[in-house]
């Protein structure tokens, strides 16, 4: 039976990047469809009626929503190449804890840097604290998953393509505050799955500059 895999996505979404990376790591062939978030397709609205958000992974007609849930689904459905999550229950819980931490803290804080007037400095400071916590969790490991690139790395790496945005509008240097984390990100970018999934930093900065103008923040 031929698998039909469709990914409804948006090029700049750090969440969509996660799923792109996971599918690439597993060498799964899929139909990548770019959504216009300001003019959502009827397929998106049908496949994710609850949140109407991307990414949506559609496997043989059945939708899986939420990027972290998608990574786990991909890992369980295509178990043969590159395991993305540890099999040990405790290590697995630990990996999911950190991915959950990333989801609860990073975007919520980072967004305030560019999308809300007057909160840039405070939000930038908070973001650095959060990234420092992650940096300390990484320690001297090659990846968050230790020797193997995995779930937590995938959960975080997409944000690297947005670091330029946070630095520009938050007036902060993530490179100097969290040099070990930046080194980790560059190691991840050596992987083809990551290099192909992440957009150029300049492109994201241009996109957000436009968004800010439209939101009346410039």
């Amino acid at each position: 039976m031929a698998d039909e895999v469709i990914l409804l996505d948006f090029w700049a979404s750090m969440f969509g990047m996660r799923t792109r990376i996971a599918l690439a790591e597993k060498r799964v062939k899929y139909d990548h469809r770019e959504e216009d978030l300001w003019n959502k397709s009827s397929l998106l609205l049908e496949m994710n009626p609850v949140n109407k958000k991307i990414p949506v992974l559609i496997h043989n007609g059945k939708p899986v929503c939420e990027s972290l849930i998608q990574i786990e689904y991909i890992d369980e459905t295509w178990p043969d190449n590159n395991p993305l999550l540890p099999s040990d229950p405790y290590k697995r819980a630990d990996a999911k804890f950190w991915a959950d931490f990333i989801d609860k803290k990073v975007n919520v804080t980072a967004r305030r840097i560019w999308a809300v007037k007057g909160e840039e400095q405070e939000a930038a400071k908070e973001l650095i604290e959060i990234l420092k916590t992650l940096e300390s969790e990484l320690g001297d490991k090659k990846y968050f998953g230790d020797e193997a690139f995995g779930y937590v790395d995938i959960a975080l790496i997409g944000f690297y393509s947005w670091f330029g945005v946070y630095e520009k509008f938050g007036n902060v240097s993530i490179e100097s505050e969290c040099s070990k984390l930046v080194a980790w990100a560059k190691r991840c970018l050596e992987r083809e799955s990551v290099a192909k999934a992440l957009p150029e930093s300049e492109k994201v900065i241009t996109f957000i500059s436009e968004r800010r103008k439209k939101l009346g923040l410039e």
Binding site: E66, T77, P89, R92, F97
Partner: protein, 224 residues
């Protein structure tokens, strides 16, 4: 595999749906555990030591391992103690259970608690928005005894601890009939079925005490 000296401790709080659901799972699987009640908001040094990042209950300590976040604890429990499995085997069904679990703890909780209490767009609008979200769950449980199918599962524990045994007490205190029988026949049927499960019965916070507590919290939110 030899039976080692197993030690299971759970740090919880009587009114927390997050720790109550972990108790349900431990009871369902017949896992002996030591329960340590936190006197919130006075957090014990033990809690702060075990969960320095979030400082929250529940915390499960299994031998020397510290487990945090209720969803993750439930999944861990299911993987370690195989009796009465609570997560489906099929990856798609599992993904759906995880999706709805996140939906309940994020969207239902936000709309049905904070947004409702603040009711910036007006109380009726807040009630309708909450009901709209609850309708998704109504559909999900239609034609099934439990969200988990024929037996109680992960999603039942999350939905049960959060909706009938927590949020519903807030709604009652506010004089709101959020899930009337005629609009939500399936959810109401599910609640009755759930209340019959032995592992659940011992994990329901006392009604009046909780209504009082939820009402107090609501007042704090309103005046903030």
């Amino acid at each position: 595999m030899t039976e080692k000296e197993e030690s299971v401790k759970l740090l919880g709080f009587w009114a927390s749906p997050f720790s109550r659901r972990v108790e349900m799972a431990l009871k369902l699987k017949g896992v002996p555990y030591e329960y340590l009640e936190e006197d919130l908001p006075n957090k014990t040094p033990l809690l702060l030591e075990l969960n320095p990042l979030h400082k929250k209950v529940p915390v499960l300590v299994h031998n020397d391992k510290i487990l945090l976040e209720s969803h993750l604890i439930l999944e861990y429990i299911d993987q370690i103690w195989k009796k009465n499995p609570i997560l489906p085997q099929d990856p798609y069904e599992k993904a759906m259970a995880r999706f709805w679990a996140k939906f309940i703890d994020e969207q239902i909780l936000t709309l049905g608690f904070r947004s409702l209490v603040k009711a910036e767009k007006g109380r009726e609008v807040a009630i309708e928005e909450t009901r709209e979200m609850l309708m998704f769950l109504e559909k999900e449980v239609t034609g099934k005894d439990f969200f988990g199918g024929k037996t109680i599962g992960f999603l039942d524990m999350i939905a049960g601890s959060m909706i009938p045994f927590c949020l519903a007490r807030l709604w009652e205190g506010m004089g709101i009939d959020m899930i009337p029988g005629e609009k939500f026949p399936e959810l109401n049927r599910w609640i009755k079925t759930l209340e019959e499960v032995e592992a659940v019965r011992g994990c329901i916070p006392p009604r009046d005490k909780q209504i009082e507590r939820m009402t107090k919290i609501a007042e704090t939110i309103r005046s903030a």
